[in-house]
Symmetry: D3
Subunit: 132 residues, 6 copies
């Protein structure tokens, strides 16, 4: 169960429907997933989130699959069940093979363990890593 | 300050030196960064961590820069200061441009906010995302 | 499923029932939610947790709704499903409107993204922020 | 040290300076804190983040101090050092007294412990908390 | 639902079956829990994870129950539902009594709240804690 | 720098001094570490935290070193720098050898990686793990 009702097309305001239509158009599918239907309880938040997502995940220096795998990695590190499902599915739709999925998980697991070790050891940052 | 002393080459056992030598050889540099010198307080843990890291970050389906950016993303989501520095530097060394860095951060920021929103809304996972 | 059985009134010891009675009295309802019934497997932990919660969430400088929304924010950031549900419901019961809920989520999402960015950039704290 | 250089006014592009000017105008101070100077390495990310922050933290149903304390709470839960400093300072500037700070911390500490307990116990969400 | 199919014995490759057999042998049970069946989608990751787990959780300076309770503590702090269930069950199987479970939870709750407070206060580390 | 001033003995109220005295007496040392001096800005929060800590970390079913290592594990998983330092030092004072420290870190690193993997795979909890 969600903490808010999911907004159906029938219950949606014009402002919400306009966002739903744009999601449908950009993604080339009629399906609106639950995240957007829940977020639609606050139309300005829905619109701001979708507009920014569209921009961030759009064309750029990084290819779409790389961006999607980074999204999966952050979602897992943050322990977000819904996001792990939705972005793993999105990465598959963008070409992630089972072998790539396995490597993605191996890198995430590796980072998780060295993150814990570096925190445990409270290692001081080496001067050579300076970005300034 | 670290929670353990950093092990210098002079203080290192033969087991530790063998790992340090392998790090130097694989990375093509004489420099051993503080993480490994701290981890060297427990030689078996040092060896196991390095051996696995070498394997995970080695050649595969994902290119080295993609793996390194995923590593950065997890390190940031886990709030690891040292790892954020060391892997950001490693990503730069593997070709990450300022534009790519900016996009990486934009994806991480985007994921962080939708992760929080999905958790806040407790959205149920859509059937279409099933991986089974 | 929980990792422990939920303790019914019938199965509760006198020590547990005394806490349940106090919860009922303070909250003005007969309903004891699952968290307390699970925690009741360890009566001293149940008692200590409830006594402290009652004190912390009681009258003070911050009004009850503000405290409850802060509780929701922490629960979301910590990824606690149960707590997100129970404290969102509590905030509603204390007067949180849908508009306030939307703003609460917008602030949480904003903080989540700038938290990630500040960690990614490893920004040094400005002297002007000193609290000392 | 940061992972990127801080952009001074002298080194800033026109696009960055326009954002800096807006920050100065909205906040009524000449001081630009390090977060924005670091973020300025990616002008579009700087602009998008500032524009959204201005909107989210602007006038609404929740008063400015409440929003700022929620921001502090999320920053602490996410373990962000810089954000904890900057938003604690901002909350003070908006009227948070030492007594209110103490209560804020007490609520955050309380939530942190019951979040951990609820996760430990894997308590199932009560039907009465349904928001649908 | 998982993000990948669970691999049955019938669907398992020889490499996967060899790991399953070793799990069965080390644990003295025919039952292979879902984690390993999901991980089996990537045989090298399955093998590397199991081999390391067997080594880390094997005989050493810390007794098996202590190791298992530490595993539970980390799993709870990381908000991992599956791991909290599986390692709480494992700790019980290794002798954790209800009283020990209650104390374990009390320590985890205590640490969670002082962690939050120390982060909120940004306390500087005392010189006396130096491990160097 | 901390977000609040550290309270010296000279600046402390009678209520604060009483807690400081109890800390000195229980720990058998004159030294009051920075955490308590920062927390002393809110005397009731100082008192409640110390009283609970004293109770939780006192004699029970789990021995003091085991409790302290669990505290370290949670502090690392939560990314708390101060707590990692203070509780690692405390564990050493209670008898943690370098070998035990190494094993503690190995378990934490192992748990961190399987936590990430279980979240990535969204593994469903096996019926056999039921605690009810």
């Amino acid at each position: 169960m969600a903490t808010v009702p999911l907004i159906s097309d029938e219950a949606a305001s014009a402002e919400v429907l306009a966002v739903f239509d744009d999601i449908r158009s950009v993604r080339g599918t009629d399906y609106i997933n639950n995240f957007w239907r829940a977020l639609a309880n606050d139309p300005p938040l829905l619109k701001a989130t979708w507009e920014r997502l569209k921009q961030v995940m759009g064309p750029g220096e990084l290819d779409p699959l790389t961006k999607e795998m980074i999204y999966v990695a952050v979602s897992i590190a943050n322990g977000c069940e819904y996001c792990t499902h939705s972005h793993t599915a999105a990465a598959r739709a963008k070409g992630m093979t089972p072998e790539m999925h396995g490597e993605l998980l191996a890198v995430i697991a590796m980072a998780s363990q060295t993150n814990a070790l570096a925190t445990a050891l409270q290692v001081e940052t080496d001067e050579v890593f300076r970005g300034e």
